[in-house]
């Protein structure tokens, strides 16, 4: 059929709608996408830590707006977390991952570690000033360590 502007726009709209629906559902359609998504989530958390740690150490001024923005970025990047741990994303599969088998063999532990992180994030988000931020932060840092200790491949 002839490619009118209307047709092209129609195809484009349909495609955008499909993409929109797909991203709204946050359904990663392949193991590679799932693994990349969770890595991007972790990187965003790393950036968030880089925004927070200098404040904790007294090397940077407390800036609630900057901290809130870093938190929001991390949360956005991690929004589809639950969908990214399918059986086809395990270590030893087609795509390399630093996740350990323990994620699947100790599901309860993995979920508990995630819950500890969410709780700690809640504490940090709720902090209204520097003092309460500094009081809330240690639980967040600890939650990173606790999960990685059991569920992420050792870096050595």
């Amino acid at each position: 059929m002839q490619m009118t502007i209307k047709t092209v726009m129609g195809v484009f709209a349909a495609g955008a709608l499909a993409l929109g629906l797909a991203s709204a559902a946050m359904a990663a359609s392949s193991p590679a996408e799932a693994i990349q998504a969770r890595q991007a989530c972790m990187k965003a958390n790393g950036k968030m830590m880089k925004a927070m740690v200098p404040v904790i150490k007294g090397q940077a001024a407390y800036d609630k707006a900057a901290i809130d923005a870093a938190i929001a970025s991390a949360e956005a990047a991690c929004a589809g977390w639950g969908e990214w741990w399918g059986e086809d994303t395990k270590p030893g599969g087609a795509v390399e991952t630093e996740a350990l088998e323990a994620v699947w063999t100790d599901k309860a532990g993995f979920e508990a570690a995630g819950a500890a992180y969410v709780k700690a994030m809640g504490g940090v988000k709720a902090s209204a000033d520097e003092a309460s931020f500094k009081a809330a932060f240690p639980d967040l840092g600890k939650s990173c360590q606790i999960c990685h200790e059991k569920f992420r491949k050792a870096e050595d």
Binding site: M49, K50, G141, C144, H148, E155
Partner: protein, 296 residues
């Protein structure tokens, strides 16, 4: 043929004599009133629990007690570290001070065999014997746990253990660590902790062809003790931009991933970081100061 046999026999006899254990005698130990607090501090610095942790088969045992038995896999074999609690039958309750010092600083077991240096006696050898006695006293203060010995899975055990006796001539330097008078007290404290109880060199220093520590390149990085991969260099950490200063290094050791430091909270180094984090802050700063001084 007879001449050859004689030469071989003489050679074997020489090897046997040269490879004999040379323990410290009890008379050589100083009179010392143990300092339990110091013993506990150095117990953490020495990382005893990381290898001597309780075996998974022991139920209901506090994971913080060095009840031993958890398998330690190395390229030469699998070891089951000793129960260090004061149980007289299965732990070290019946050991003398000399037994303990000889194991920890000379790699000689209570039965007179050479210990494979999976136990890092090659570093502990540099400690003050009073500090080792303090650790022994701290261990004696822990609750006794029944956790029987389990023999190492070591191929050609007799030959290998005796071979260690020969190796010790090149591999075991028993000279005590001495402070550097041109450096600060805290630098020297850091140097002692790193070179003695910390036994950092065992992973971070390269090995010679005979698997002794290549001290000419101390802390320049070495083979991973579990057999695969490499352990990074600690030299020039600041010059290479890995850390900003001594305080940054100390922070990494004290907090690890809790403060966003990467590559220091998992695996073997994670265990080290957790042990060091239990030291007083001044000692962690001292370690940072010493490591920061290692030139590239």
């Amino acid at each position: 043929m007879a001449a050859l046999a004689l030469v071989l026999a003489l050679g074997a006899a020489a090897a046997w004599v040269l490879s004999a254990p040379r323990p410290i005698s009890p008379a050589a130990l100083p009179q010392h009133t143990p300092d339990l607090a110091n013993g506990e501090l150095l117990y953490h610095a020495a990382g005893c629990l990381s290898c001597h942790k309780p075996s998974a088969e022991l139920s209901g045992v506090d994971a913080n007690l060095p009840a031993g038995g958890a398998p330690l896999k190395t390229p030469v074999g699998t070891f089951y570290p000793k129960n260090l609690t004061p149980d007289r039958e299965t732990g070290i309750g019946a050991w003398t001070d000399a037994d303990f010092v000889n194991a920890v600083q000379r790699g000689i077991s209570r039965s007179g065999e050479h210990l494979i240096p999976a136990l890092p006696y090659t570093s502990y050898a540099h400690m003050k014997v009073e500090d080792v006695l303090d650790i022994r006293a701290y261990l004696a203060s822990l609750p006794a746990v029944i956790s029987p010995d389990r023999a190492a899975e070591l191929p050609a055990s007799l030959l290998m253990r005796r071979g260690i006796g020969l190796w010790k001539w090149v591999g075991l330097d028993t000279s005590p660590w001495t402070p550097d008078p041109t450096q600060t007290a805290s630098w020297n404290r850091g140097a002692y902790l790193v070179n003695g109880p910390g036994h950092c060199a065992e992973c971070h220093t390269p090995r010679t062809a005979l698997m002794a520590l290549d001290t000419s390149r101390a802390f320049a990085g070495g083979p991973h003790p579990e057999g695969t991969g490499k352990v990074p260099s600690l030299r020039g950490l600041i010059e290479r931009g890995r850390y900003t200063d001594a305080k940054d290094i100390a922070s990494a050791l004290q907090y690890g991933e809790m403060m966003g430091y990467e590559k220091i909270s998992s695996g073997g180094m994670g265990q080290v970081q957790r042990n060091i984090s239990q030291l007083p802050e001044a000692d962690i700063q001292a370690i940072g100061e010493y490591l920061a001084s290692l030139t590239p």
